[in-house]
Amino acid sequence: MVDTIEIRLSGFGGQGLIMASVVLARAASMYESKHVVQKDDKYKREESGLYVVQTQTYGSGVRGGASRAEVKISKKSINYPEITTPDVLVLMSEEAFQKYGSETKPSTLVLIDPDTVAGRPEGDYCEIPATVTANELGNKIVANMVMLGAVTAMTKVVHPDSLKSAMKDLLPSETLELNFKALEEGYDLGKSCGFEIKTDWG
């Protein structure tokens, strides 16, 4: 049982990992029971909400290069915003694997898209064929949501309905159906993987 969960999504630009992280963060932040806002007494309602910080790295100029997004979710107020070694690590490109593949701890849940990553980490990991699944659903663009579904299944960090609410806020409505489908497929893939992390709110 952890009271803070740190999730890193990495791959290349165009895979929509930043969007996935925003969906997740927004879901956790806005749609999970009571909400909290940091660092202000009047607004501190610790009851049962979640604290969330979402960050990302940009490369300058170069499109299609490495892309990384991070979400930190906690029952406690989050101060230091960066992730050191993630609890969940999603790898969607070989470059990401080379860069972040070893920045793990024994308990880190590693999710790999087997079709876009050649290498494999030393410890345990779980293969989520996100790109292939997305392709089968009709557009590889939704691989990000497949991954997100898998992450949710394995961590229960948010309820899938929260994710869907967040998606409704963020994605063009005509793409929602496909994205929901991808999420669900991912959820199933994640469940079938066997690994999990238990948060104290999940």
Binding site: F12, G64, S93, E94, T116
Partner: protein
């Protein structure tokens, strides 16, 4: 022969577009960089190929000049 360097090509398909002789086709395989690299499918139709064959200077070169990634070379040049 026109050769597309898979380590440089970013699959923009401009070569496919500009070649007046349709020497290139869209390609099927994704490179390590994640791009769809075109195929050289009609090299014998290539204007410059025929020029060089005749011992003349290349006169077309539209593909080489247009390729934004310096990914196309013709290894028969300079022979």
């Amino acid at each position: 022969m026109k050769i597309i360097n898979k380590d440089y090509c970013k699959g923009c398909q401009i070569c496919v577009e500009v070649c007046p002789k349709k020497v290139y086709s869209e390609g099927t395989e994704i490179s390590d960089m994640g791009y769809l690299v075109p195929l050289v499918t009609n090299y014998d139709k290539c204007i410059d190929h025929n020029q060089i064959k005749k011992g003349k200077k290349p006169i077309c070169e539209l593909c080489i000049l247009s390729c934004p990634d310096q990914a196309i070379i013709d290894d028969s040049y300079g022979d």
